[in-house]
């Protein structure tokens, strides 16, 4: 097994245990073997290397994640096993069975026993065929009964069959395995790597590739850095990987694929900072490239406000291209969801009172937790329209005191457009209703709520020069 150990780092125990459970002789191989490890712990890689070194073990691979439900899964088992046997024993004439006939779990049993029966007279010794279900618990429509079906498959296939199906499952979730712990299946755990192991693996896997990458070559040619050996290039690449890990390890955790992504994102801009002086001065190079180690830049929004200087220029491009009415409706919906209705009149009332009566006092004490952190509460559509009217600016065109001003509304009415915009906001899922099927908007029971976080609403309100923040000052 030393050959596998050369290819797989930090998995010596796992490889050794794998080889003690997986043998060519079906008599000393357990029918089910479970491999557990969270994502990026090298389960698939180790297994692949193991089978690549031990080529005499017949193995077929399935990825349940692309099979969605149990029926295609079982059909795929039938298909791949049949194809594998056909290609391995090409000189045996066998009838073809249609894998699509497998529509029930017991039909899979029947299919497999019929299939194996054909090889009964041909083979002298009994052999194993290993079926690797890579990511059993990533099947989308997984249920608890499916794993039971697979682990008891071997009991129904005849014991004296010359071909024995042995199933290897790789599973991420420990909670899934713990459901079946009383079956005492042999289990090999792939623990998560730690930071040093991650660094070594990344250096082992990526350093050579980074040296041979196009940006570095171009830079070297442009900058005419010709007094460099390969070892020194390697040093630059290894140093870069180490810097990336140190800078972003707490952000990614022990996750190889995220670190790989960050290496790919940042290598080019790192290379651009290389020149003749800092090639041999890692600290100098780090200083000149400090910007790429400070932020993750892990966003596809090019104009994210943090990393560009010309903030004012981007002010025009908004988060949402909504109409002003929609924007105010969204703000009003946010206010309705997060301010309590009992304080509405103290917040929004501006009219001078003709009749006598006290205005509302408003909230006496601050709230303990900021309500904006919590889920939005429901409101009725009338309250939304009232708040909308209270905050929507209407510029009066008519001159003050003229006859035309009598005719003109100083406040926005809920006209057709308002309802259209509201309906559109709902279909854009920016406002939501109480979830139920076939919701009836005209029903008085239907309550509404806003469905956007604070960050978006504050940006929307900024675009219409409305300070929504002042309504929430008293909260915390």
């Amino acid at each position: 097994m030393s050959e596998v150990n050369d290819l797989v780092l930090f998995r010596d125990y796992q490889v050794e245990t794998l080889s003690s459970f997986l043998n060519a002789d079906p008599n000393i191989t357990p029918p089910n073997l479970v491999i557990q490890g969270y994502s990026g712990t090298g389960k698939t890689y180790t297994l692949q290397q193991f089978f690549a070194v031990n080529q005499f073990l017949i193995n077929v691979w399935l990825e349940p994640i692309e099979l969605i439900t149990w029926k295609p899964f079982m059909q795929a088992v039938a298909r791949t096993v049949q194809n594998k046997l056909k290609s391995t024993f090409a000189n045996v004439k066998t009838p073809d069975y249609d894998p699509l006939d497998v529509e029930e779990p017991y039909l899979l049993v029947k299919f497999l026993s019929n299939l194996f029966e054909n090889y009964q007279s041909f083979l002298e010794d009994s052999i194993c065929i290993f079926l690797v279900c890579d990511g059993f618990d990533s099947l989308q429509d997984l249920d608890a009964a499916l794993f039971h079906k697979f682990i008891s498959l071997h009991e129904l296939i005849p014991v004296d069959s010359k071909i024995q199906l042995k199933v290897i499952y790789t599973i991420q979730d420990t909670a899934f395995i713990e459901r079946y712990s009383s079956h005492n299946l042999p289990l090999i755990v792939f623990p998560r790597y730690n930071m040093d192991q991650i660094t070594d693996i990344l250096v082992f896997a990526r350093a050579q590739e980074l040296i041979e990458s196009e940006p570095l070559r171009r830079k070297v040619l442009q900058g005419q850095i010709d007094e460099c050996t390969d070892d020194e290039f390697l040093g630059v690449a290894i140093n870069f990987i180490k810097l990336i890990v140190q800078a972003f390890h707490s952000y990614t955790g022990n996750d190889i694929s995220s670190l790989n992504d960050l290496i790919d994102f940042k290598w080019e801009s790192y290379v651009n900072k290389i020149n003749r002086q800092n090639m041999f001065d890692p600290l100098g190079l780090y200083r000149s490239a400090i910007a790429i180690f400070l932020t993750t830049d892990d966003s596809l929004n090019a104009d994210y406000p943090e990393n560009n200087q010309s903030k004012g220029a981007n002010e025009a491009t908004q988060t949402y291209e909504l109409s002003p009415i929609s924007k105010y409706l969204l703000i009003a919906a946010y206010i309705c969801s997060y301010l309590e209705p009992r304080y509405d009149s103290s917040v929004f009332s501006r009219k001078s009172h003709v009749k006598t009566g006290r205005g509302s006092y408003g909230r006496r004490k601050k709230m303990e937790t900021n309500p904006r952190y919590l889920q939005p509460s429901l409101f009725s559509v009338e309250r939304l329209l009232a708040v909308f009217q209270a905050i929507f600016p209407v510029d009066t065109k008519a001159q003050r005191g003229s006859l035309a001003s009598l005719k003109e509304d100083s406040l926005m009415r809920a006209n057709v457009e308002v309802f259209q915009n509201l309906a559109e906001l709902h279909s854009l899922k920016l406002v939501a209703t109480t979830v139920s099927k076939n919701i009836d908007f005209l029903n008085y029971k239907v309550k509404w709520k806003v469905n956007v976080p604070w960050e978006i609403v504050s940006e929307v309100s900024k675009s219409v020069n409305f300070d929504v923040g002042q309504y929430f000052i008293g909260d915390t």
């Binding site: 125990y13 245990t17 952000y251 469905n451």
Partner: protein, 491 residues
């Protein structure tokens, strides 16, 4: 050792011994070389008696084996049937059903196909294959069921069956039900009714064995089904006491006979015996530990297999058996995805966020939290830490090093960066959605769930409510005292 497609040539005596030992552990030796463990002997005899009565003397019987998983229900039945098939090969056919794989509907087809297959095998060896049999499993479900019933119910009616019956005696049909309780569902129980009815009335001798893990299996059965069942329930014996466990482990490790002159068997026997009887040997402690926690021979066996397989020669087998390091590392490895190891494998930021989540959960009334609350807690925590530690004097005077500011403040990550951390905590199962139903029990329930849009998926990321898998008190015990975040593991 890259011999293609062949079992290893078994060159040396030790390799043969190792292979023999492994097969003994897996209980895959030929049936005359395996012997069931001695504590199972009485049950074994009982099963043996029942099977012989129905196979040799052609009586009909039904019984149910009840025992927890891994209590050798299937092993005993298989062993007994294998033994009997050597002597009474022509006398019986076996039909196996598994409640996980067969449903009430498909079990009928399953019976028909197996019946057909087994009869063909039996007849094929007596004389030419009988072709009329092939249509047992053809036709619609009711037809198939009727055919089976007619065939089993009265041997005189069935076509090809009675030919073989006439010349000798009838063929016994042995049914083995695994997970019988799934057939004893809340509705109808047609299959069980008909089969138990056969035991009472049919002229073909039928022997039914049900295996189940449910102790109250009789409560599952309907009144009419129960009245047809023979009321014979065999409870699988459990190992009583540590002494018996030790003895059984010794049986498990020692192959019973050495017919082909394996020279290692004797010394292996004495080694195993010595090590197990020494009260402070590593093996003894391991067995003791297993007895007090799992009390499971399979669990012990899984750990011993790497030990035995990894041995290069007899001396190394002896040594590694004495120290049991391989088994210990197997047992250690099983725990490497536990909650504690997972927490220790987190980066400092992930740990910090987890602590914050546990803090907010502890403060909340309904023990749930969301991303906003956790980030607010995190922000406050980092600010408070940074306030307390004295920062190094900023190097203002030195203009060169403005780019690099050495300070020992803790970085406060931005909200959008923390989202990645939050997601990885989700992927590691530290957080679960509030009142979520994880894995559905059956395929139909999973199907219903996939057609339903849950509220948690429609609301914004920051506002989804989660519960933590580990409490703050739990974290306090796991996070080392030297950690900067240890003081924050209590409110």
């Amino acid at each position: 050792n890259l011999s293609p497609k062949k079992v290893q040539p078994l060159d040396s005596g030790f390799k043969r011994f190792k292979h023999f030992l492994m097969r003994h552990l897996y209980q895959s030796l030929p049936p005359d070389q395996t012997r069931p463990y001695s504590y199972l002997r009485e049950t074994h005899q009982e099963i043996d008696r029942l099977l012989k009565q129905s196979i040799v003397q052609k009586e009909s019987h039904s019984s149910i084996l009840v025992g927890p998983r891994g209590s050798f229900k299937t092993v005993l039945l298989n062993h007994e049937l294998a033994l009997l098939s050597e002597r009474y090969h022509q006398q019986f056919i076996t039909i196996r059903l598994n409640g996980f794989i067969h449903s009430e509907q498909t079990a009928i087809n399953g019976i028909a196909t197996q019946l057909e297959e087994q009869l063909r095998k039996l007849h094929g060896r007596i004389r030419k294959p009988v072709n009329e049999d092939t249509d047992i499993s053809n036709g619609s479900l009711t037809e198939v069921f009727e055919k089976i019933l007619r065939l089993l119910d009265s041997a005189a009616v069935s076509g090809s069956q009675d030919k073989s019956d006439n010349e000798s005696t009838k063929i016994t049909v042995v049914f083995i039900f695994d997970e019988m309780d799934t057939f004893a569902g809340p509705v109808r129980q047609t299959l069980l009714y008909n089969l138990f009815d056969m035991v009472e009335h049919a002229r073909v001798p039928v022997c039914i064995f049900g295996c189940t893990t449910k102790l109250n299996i009789l409560d599952y059965l309907e009144k009419r089904v129960k009245s047809r069942f023979s009321q014979r329930i065999i409870y699988m014996p459990q190992i009583e006491g540590f002494q018996q466990f030790i003895e059984t482990v010794e049986e498990m490790l020692c192959p019973p006979s050495c017919d082909d002159g394996l020279k290692f068997v004797k010394s292996w026997h004495s080694l195993v015996h010595n090590e197990l009887s020494k009260p402070n040997s590593d093996v003894h402690l391991l067995v003791k530990f297993n007895y007090e926690t799992f009390k499971s021979l399979q669990h012990l066996r899984n750990g011993l297999i790497p030990l035995i397989f990894g041995a290069k020669d007899y001396e190394s087998l002896e040594n590694s058996f004495k120290t049991c390091s391989k088994t210990k590392s197997y047992n250690h490895n099983l725990l490497e995805s536990s909650l504690t190891t997972k927490i220790n494998s987190l980066s400092n930021l992930e740990l910090c966020i987890l602590i914050c989540a546990a803090r907010t959960v502890l403060k909340a009334k309904d023990e749930s939290t969301n991303f906003n609350l956790v980030y607010a807690e995190y922000e406050e925590m980092i600010k408070s830490i940074n306030r307390r530690i004295p920062t190094m004097a900023p190097t203002k005077s030195n203009e060169d090093t403005t780019a690099v500011i050495f300070d020992n403040k803790i970085k406060l990550w931005k909200k959008r960066d923390i989202k990645n951390v939050w997601e990885s905590l989700l992927a590691l199962n530290f957080l679960t959605e509030k009142s979520a139903v994880g894995l559905r029990e059956s395929a139909i329930a999973a199907f219903y769930a996939s057609n339903y849009q849950f509220q948690g998926t429609t609301i914004p990321f920051d506002l989804r409510r989660y519960q933590t898998q580990v409490t703050l008190q739990g974290l306090r015990r796991i996070v080392p005292r030297s950690s900067m975040y240890h003081p924050w593991t209590q409110l």
